[in-house]
């Protein structure tokens, strides 16, 4: 089986993530969708690592994971603080700032 399938799968996952960001209201879920996009990238990286026969891709995937973890920490903190204030995690409720 050719790497193309993995790439396509990754692309699909990425799209799903992106669309998810657009359609879901719950901040946590939206954030998860972003994570999904990152992981789609990881899949791509690893696939390419295979095709090019280098390990760079896999190392990069590790980097991405670390970064993603850091992002989770920061992200959840922000979401929590706003949730505790507003008692709601809906991204649509936060629109005082506009125009």
């Amino acid at each position: 089986m050719t790497p193309a399938y993995y790439l396509v799968l990754a692309a699909i996952l990425f799209t799903i993530g992106a669309v998810g960001v657009l359609v879901r209201r719950n901040a946590i879920v939206v954030f998860m969708c972003v994570e999904l996009m990152l992981n789609a990238v990881n899949l791509t990286l690893i696939t390419f690592a295979r095709t090019t026969g280098t390990v760079d891709g896999q190392i990069m995937a590790l980097f991405v994971m670390v970064v993603a973890a850091a992002e989770v920490v920061v992200g959840l903190a922000i979401i929590m603080s706003i949730y505790r204030t507003r008692r709601s995690a809906s991204v649509d409720d936060a629109n005082l700032l506009k125009y």
Partner: protein, 631 residues
């Protein structure tokens, strides 16, 4: 040739009155006490100087003197030197202006005695004299133009002398504007001369004008004529002159009878070398002269305002002069002779009218006059002589000069000659009619004075000039035509007077004219003298009379042709400028603002819509790049 002796100092002619004006205007109230004396003194001095200069000029063999003063404007090809040309033509004008001017200054001392602003009046009069002298003495068309507009200014100031009266202010403005219309013609004529000949001095232009194409010369001639019409109140620019009577009467006498309004005649006479080359332009001059002659005479018959009648008479008489100078070499001298004679008797008549008004508490309505001959003997006498001179009573000045013009017209010896001659004769009859009417209504018949009017003769300071002018109006004609023939004096300017081939014997012409004149007098007596003059003008009159009363609707025409459309245009443009030009800019601004607030709506504040925007952007970017790379 360059001037020596007194002639070299002829610039003082202009400088003296100008200095007088400056002193009176800048001096302020300090000069109130003696201002009028200074003003008169400068002009008298100028007159003396003019006489002396003329005498010296007569001594020179080729009677002409140039006075170079200083470089006025010099740039590129253009080189305008401020200089004077003192030759027989300018000399007679200098004498007329300073002479009549002096008399009128003297007269004004009395006439304006009780006016708080007398000093200002004399300042303006001096200013006028200076400008007028510059006009006639200048040695180039530019100098002439400067004087030309200078007299326009003086006339404006003097007509509006009693500026608290809206009528006066409006009349002054009207005069200035209509003169400016003429000035445009004069200015463009100068441009053409410079463009074609590279010079604007008389010597340069007249020297080389022959080299130009006929069309160009005609154009110059017509443009100059436009200027002349504006200044001399000729058709189609005659409407301002009667209104100008709003000014004090001495002004009407000096500016709007004797001198300024004759500047047009001077211009055409001065430009003889140009007109001699363009029969077309000259024909137009003739036509305008004849037409104005009639218009003025007809309008003169209908007015009850004594000054208006005299004003239209002036229009008509200047028509005679135009007709004369339009005839070319044959007519120049005749026209100028009539001009000088007219200067005397018309000035005299106006001063007389002033004296009458002085007696009648400044009333001008002849229907409220009558039977004044006993109350104002001197005025009546001088006025009567002026009257006789004007209507061309045999052997008074008008008789000679007017006949000379008619002769010259007939001497063309063609149909037009007869037509013009006929018009001139008819004009003589009309002149006799309206002037007789004026005499009858003013001095004879029953006294129709308003209550509280106690006529009294004017002081001698006023009557003396009137007497002098009356004498002049009696003899000047004879002097100019036969004793010291003007033709001889002006020979250096217009050349040898051609021996007139008398188509019709002068004696016969004199007879005919006299008969027509008497008919006019008779008619006047029949219409006015026999019956009682109603105090208010009869309303139900023939269309002819009504037309005449409206000066043949000249004002109406101007109004409907120029003023109204002009006002509409102005209003339309103001609207266009605010709504259109400025509106476009403000509209653009408003449009941007609208776009801004509409675009701002896309900034909904919803994270997800932002994300959508970003995704769309990303897709576009990727798509664009792919499009570019894939060709």
């Amino acid at each position: 040739m360059p001037a020596e002796g007194l002639l070299a100092a002829s610039w003082l002619l202009i400088a003296l009155p100008l200095a007088g004006a400056a002193v009176l205007l800048l001096g302020g109230r300090r000069t109130d006490r003696w201002g009028h004396l200074l003003g008169t003194a400068t002009v008298v001095a100028a007159f003396v100087l003019a006489v002396a200069c003329t005498v010296q000029l007569a001594g020179l063999e080729e009677r002409s003197a140039d006075v170079e003063l200083f470089t006025f404007i010099s740039s590129g090809q253009l080189d305008v030197t401020a200089g004077l040309l003192y030759d027989p033509l300018s000399a007679i004008f200098a004498l007329l202006i300073t002479g009549v001017g002096s008399l009128i200054h003297v007269y004004s001392i009395g006439y304006m005695a009780h006016d708080p602003a007398r000093r200002r009046f004399f300042a303006y009069l001096n200013l006028f004299v200076a400008a007028m002298l510059l006009l006639v003495l200048g040695n180039s068309f530019v100098a002439l133009y400067v004087g030309w507009e200078g007299v326009g200014l003086a006339s404006y100031l003097l007509i509006a002398f009693w500026y608290t009266r809206p009528a006066a202010a409006t009349a002054a403005k009207k005069a200035f504007i209509m003169n400016r219309v003429g000035d445009v013609g004069l200015a463009i004529a100068i441009f053409v001369m410079f463009a074609q000949l590279g010079t604007t001095s008389y010597a340069g232009v007249f020297g080389s004008v022959g080299t130009l194409a006929g069309g160009t010369i005609t154009a110059i001639g017509l443009l100059l004529l436009l200027g002349a019409c504006g200044k001399s109140g000729q058709f189609p620019l005659q409407a301002w002159l009667p209104d100008a009577m709003e000014g004090p009467t001495p002004v009407s006498a000096l500016i709007h009878a004797a001198t300024m309004v004759t500047a047009g005649v001077y211009l055409i006479a001065r430009s003889a070398p140009i007109y001699d080359l363009t029969p077309t332009a000259r024909a137009v001059v003739l036509a305008i002269g004849a037409l104005t002659l009639l218009i003025g005479a007809i309008a003169g018959c209908a007015y009850d305002d004594i000054k208006k009648v005299l004003a239209y008479s002036t229009v008509s008489q200047i028509g005679y002069m135009f007709l004369a100078v339009g005839l070319g070499p044959a007519g120049y001298v005749a026209g100028l002779a009539h001009l000088l004679a007219h200067g005397f008797f018309k000035a005299g008549l106006f001063l007389g009218a002033g004296s009458v008004m002085h007696a009648m508490n400044d009333g001008v309505d002849m229907r409220r006059f009558g039977a004044l001959w006993r109350k104002l003997p001197v005025t009546f006498g001088t006025f009567g002589l002026g009257y006789l001179a004007l209507i061309g009573f045999p052997f008074l000045s008008g008789y000679f000069t007017k006949d000379a013009i008619i002769e010259a017209a007939l001497d063309r010896d063609d149909v037009w000659g007869w037509v013009l001659g006929g018009v001139a004769v008819l004009g003589a009859g009309l002149t006799a009619f309206y002037m007789t009417r004026l005499m009858l209504m003013t001095f004879f018949g029953r006294a129709r004075w308003e209550d509280g009017v106690h006529p009294h003769e004017s002081p001698s300071v006023m009557t003396a000039p009137m007497v002098v002018l009356a004498v002049g109006s009696v003899f000047s004609g004879a002097l100019l035509v036969s004793v010291f023939p003007l033709s001889g004096w002006l020979e250096p300017v217009f050349g040898e007077p051609a021996e007139a081939a008398h188509v019709v014997a002068p004696a016969l012409i004199g007879l005919v004219v006299t008969v027509v004149m008497l008919l006019g007098v008779l008619a006047a007596w029949l219409f006015v003298g026999r019956r009682e003059v109603p105090v208010t003008a009869p309303a139900r009159v023939s269309p002819v009379t009504r037309a005449a009363r409206n000066a043949l609707y000249a004002d109406a025409v101007n109004e409907s042709l120029f003023m109204r459309p002009g006002q509409w245009l102005t209003r339309a443009l103001v609207w266009l400028d605010n709504r259109g030009v400025d509106g476009a800019v403000n509209g653009l601004a408003a449009g941007l603002g609208g776009t801004s607030s509409r675009l701002a709506r896309t900034q909904t504040g919803f994270v997800r819509s932002y994300a959508l925007g970003m995704l769309g952007g990303a897709v576009l970017v990727a798509g664009a790049l792919l499009a570019v790379t894939s060709g």
